[in-house]
């Protein structure tokens, strides 16, 4: 306890004391026998076999602890070719082929998204990478889907609609599902471990034909029009998520596994705070992300650091395909993502518990619904990131509220201003009215779309001078939503509220 005359202790020394260096003479901390090959955390040296056991155990424990993946469920593995997702695919492959007691019990598929057009790669490079990807996927043996990012230009607006949420599986539901699955296996007589594999080796379930040149040009135009690398990275992530979601829904997958590692999620958490997405941290960095309703995104690699992943991949020859990304060779201050990555990694090198501390903090984030959300199961959702909008439209005290009120003012003021402008070229006199409407509708569309975004997405869209290059499904859905909202408002007074005691009394 503080005392009146107590002096503060001397300030801590500037440099942290050097951590005790584990030497080669040391033995593995686990089995106490083997020669250590890798140091994990602060000073724990593991031999090759114990490291492998620890790595696999982490993966299985992460899946087992959360009990979200039911036996026999179809799970889509999002594979980018990079080390973390390659490791994840490898773990699933090994997990499925183990002896029956410990075998993983879901049905996997793999999806690969070719983002070459957004990164400015030449068609020859992309074809070369695609050939390498196909070779690896054929070796793995799961049903696979290779899609190009350009296909977002053919997505239907239904991608952005949140399906009815299934109730989260309870403990009892999971146990009974496992029991019935085991009984089924028993009834079948004997185990058939390779059945799913033979089915899969028939080849790819869907191999999209090469995207058309118009689609590629449209994608390049979109990404070239974005002013900052930060907004480009966020847009890329959004489009990629929508595409993977579409593939999952089209082929009946109810779960998507992504290979986000501990390091990446720690960086993502801090980056999202800087981007204004603090309200959605639990969904963006947690183990499970149920914002899409019918498809749940799961992150089984979130306990593995990038160092562990790289070591495992090297020691056990896990195949991966290296592709340059949108931020390859970008300087440190090119985007918020890069800056945060450099910050966290530099901090980690001096204070080795940085990343684990951020990770443990992210574990404590709870997805608490708002109290009045019970009335409407799904309130309005952001058009792009599909998170529940935490918007209080009457709120003018915050920056967010000020932006919202400014937008609705813009919507009201544009029609009279544009009515006086001359019609564009090629307009008939009789269609003058319609043409004016097109001109002011562009500003309308912009305001319309921005109104339906959360704060973080809105900030990103500021770096797009015009929303025209966006894929049509986004613009169509924005229009649908605002029309629906307008219609709701029109008939609001005619709707009979269920819980209106005065109305009931009047009727009685």
């Amino acid at each position: 306890m503080c005392q009146a005359g107590e002096d503060y202790a001397e300030p801590a020394p500037r440099e942290p004391p050097p951590a005790p260096r584990p030497g080669r003479a040391q033995k593995c901390v686990k089995c106490k026998e083997g020669l250590p090959v890798v140091v994990i955390r602060a000073g724990d040296a593991f031999c090759r076999d114990c490291f492998k056991a620890l790595y696999v155990h982490k993966f299985r424990a992460m899946l087992g602890k959360n009990r979200l993946i039911f036996p026999g469920e179809k799970v889509l593995l999002a594979w980018s070719g990079g080390p973390s997702s390659s490791s994840m695919v490898w773990q699933v492959l090994e997990g499925l082929s183990q002896d029956s007691a410990k075998r993983l019990r879901f049905v996997p598929g793999v999806v690969y998204v070719d983002e070459g057009a957004a990164c400015g790669r030449s068609p020859e490079d992309r074809a070369k990478t695609l050939a390498e990807v196909k070779a690896v996927l054929q070796n793995v043996g799961f049903p696979w889907h290779a899609v190009a990012l350009e296909e977002v230009f053919g997505l239907p607006p239904s991608v952005l609609q949140c399906s009815a949420q299934e109730p989260a599986g309870t403990e009892g539901a999971y146990k009974s599902a496992v029991d019935s699955f085991l009984q089924q296996q028993h009834v079948l007589g004997r185990e058939q471990p390779h059945q799913s594999q033979t089915q899969a080796s028939l080849g790819p379930c869907s191999l999209a034909g090469s995207p058309t040149a118009t689609q590629t040009a449209a994608l390049c135009r979109l990404f070239d029009s974005v002013r900052t690398l930060t907004a480009k990275e966020e847009l890329l992530q959004t489009l990629r998520t929508h595409l993977i979601l579409h593939v999952a829904r089209a082929h009946g997958y109810s779960k998507v596994m992504t290979g986000d590692s501990c390091t990446r999620l720690a960086i993502k958490l801090m980056t999202n705070l800087a981007l204004g997405r603090g309200a959605f941290l639990a969904w963006d960095t947690g183990f499970s992300d149920e914002r899409h309703g019918d498809v749940v995104v799961v992150r089984p690699m979130r306990d593995h650091t990038l160092k562990e992943v790289a070591f495992y991949n090297h020691l056990f020859a896990v195949p991966s395909v290296f592709t340059p990304a949108i931020d390859t060779k970008a300087p440190e201050k090119a985007s918020i993502h890069r800056l945060m990555e450099a910050f966290i990694l530099r901090l980690q090198s001096q204070f080795p518990s940085t990343i684990s501390t951020v990770y443990r903090t992210s574990e404590k984030l709870v997805k608490a619904p708002r109290e009045d959300c019970a009335a409407s199961p799904s309130g309005p959702r952001c058009l792009l990131c599909l998170c529940t909008l935490d918007v209080d439209t009457a709120d003018s005290a915050t920056a967010f509220g000020a932006q919202t009120s400014r937008l609705s003012q813009t919507l009201l003021s544009t029609p009279p201003a544009e009515a006086g402008t001359p019609t564009g070229p090629g307009c008939m006199a009789g269609e003058g009215q319609a043409c004016c409407k097109t001109a002011c509708r562009r500003e309308d569309v912009q305001a319309q779309v921005l109104e339906q975004l959360c704060y973080g997405c809105r900030v990103n869209m500021k770096d797009l001078p015009s929303l025209d290059p966006l894929p049509p499904y986004i613009l169509v859905e924005a229009q649908l939503r605002s029309q629906r909202a307008w219609a709701m408002q029109e008939i609001q007074e005619y709707l009979i509220e269920d819980s209106d005691p005065e109305a009931e009394e009047a009727l009685a």
């Binding site: 090959v37 890798v38 990079g82 080390p83 590692s261 990038l306 090297h314 990304a325 990694l345």
Partner: protein
């Protein structure tokens, strides 16, 4: 006084992009006054092998945070990091973890 050494330097995980895409380099380090430790090896790599953007590979006198160093398939933290004395026919592998997921 250090005798000339023959070592294999390998790059992975995307680091090879800074070295013209070449992953494996068999190098012969010339004899010199100072002993060949990793610190001096990095200086040598920067001068002779690194083709572009040195700040993406080297920071100060060590590698950039996020780049792993394996010496003969073992973590360099077990071998003294920058102070490890290179021996003939050693294999040093630099893996960049900053790429992809």
């Amino acid at each position: 006084m250090a005798a000339p050494l023959s070592v294999e330097v390998e790059f992975g995980g995307g680091a090879e992009l800074l070295f013209d895409g070449v992953k494996k380099h068999q190098v012969t380090l010339p004899g010199q006054e100072e002993p060949w430790d990793i610190r001096n090896l990095l200086i040598w790599i920067k001068k002779n092998l690194l083709k572009e953007r040195p700040e993406l590979f080297i920071q100060g006198d060590s590698v950039r945070p996020g780049i792993l160093v394996l010496i003969n398939d073992a973590d360099w933290e077990l071998l003294g990091e920058l102070d490890y004395q290179l021996q003939d026919q050693d294999s040093v592998l630099f893996i960049s973890t900053l790429h992809g997921g």
